[in-house]
């Protein structure tokens, strides 16, 4: 009974849930991420500007919140699982600065391995919803 997924044994028996990982989105971290991406949008940094928007306060970049998800996959399978992975994600709610988001995932298919994933804010509301899968993996295990 050989391994049918050489190089990716970690996906042969995917767990029912991904390990949860959280990210605290402080104003300083948002500012640093914004400097990294070169995003000048004041909605992320300027409290006065944000006060005049429906959010009321600065919000995190959507792609910044995704880092909780990459950490969740890494904690579950190891960093080598990220190569070859596909993600289909919707940003469903803005995340206010200084909130903490938590990534979760539940296995919904084994061939290919597919997880329904969420990133939740501290109130338990989804800020990101979608799926992660490994589309090249159609045969796992014996």
């Amino acid at each position: 009974m050989g391994e049918m997924n050489p190089g990716r044994p970690f996906l042969a028996d995917p767990p029912a849930r991904l390990a949860e990982r959280s990210l605290h989105l402080t104003a300083e971290k948002i500012r640093r991420y914004g400097a990294l991406t070169g995003d000048p949008n004041p909605i992320h940094y300027d409290a006065g500007f944000a006060a005049r928007t429906p959010y009321g306060k600065p919000i995190a970049h959507g792609t910044f919140t995704l880092n909780a998800l990459w950490a969740s996959v890494t904690a579950t399978f190891g960093a080598q699982a990220l190569a070859g992975m596909a993600a289909d994600l919707r940003f469903t709610k803005a995340v206010i600065e200084n909130d903490t988001v938590t990534a979760r995932g539940e296995l919904v298919a084994r061939k290919p391995p597919t997880y329904r994933v969420f990133i939740l804010d501290s109130g338990g509301l989804p800020v990101v919803e979608g799926r992660l899968s490994w589309p090249g993996i159609t045969r796992v295990g014996p």
């Binding site: 990982r21 990210l23 605290h24 971290k29 640093r32 991420y33 400097a35 990294l36 991406t37 070169g38 995003d39 000048p40 949008n41 004041p42 909605i43 970049h61 959507g62 792609t63 910044f64 995704l66 880092n67 909780a68 990459w70 950490a71 890494t74 960093a79 080598q80 990220l82 190569a83 070859g84 992975m85 596909a86 993600a87 289909d88 994600l89 919707r90 940003f91 979608g130």
Partner: protein, 131 residues
Amino acid sequence: MIEGLVTYERLVPGEAIGSVTLDVTPEDIADYREAVGGLDPEPPLSPGLAIAMMMRAYMRLMPRRPAGTIHASQKLSLGIPLAPSDRVTMVLRCAEKEQRKGRGWVRFETELRNQAGALVLGGEQWVVWAK
């Protein structure tokens, strides 16, 4: 690159917006790790950094976008991980646009490749374009 304010009307489905080449510097890696605060403890580099580089390239190719533009969804295909000192090139293309409930939605396609031409990141994003 699109000079000046990028309005919905200026975006043409099927047309390339441009490409930009970026170096992954030690400062980028340090900034990324500071931002995620210990969630990226070991090599290989997280796709989160590749996505940040993708967003940097996006900002450079369309530096003046209307305030209030919203990133609504993101598809990603992860290739080989970034490595320190990589030089990556991103190509950005407007793939599609449509009106939904009176708002302009734009789908972009992105591809980030390293100096060897290997795919690091393929992406597709829908953006609600502000007026």
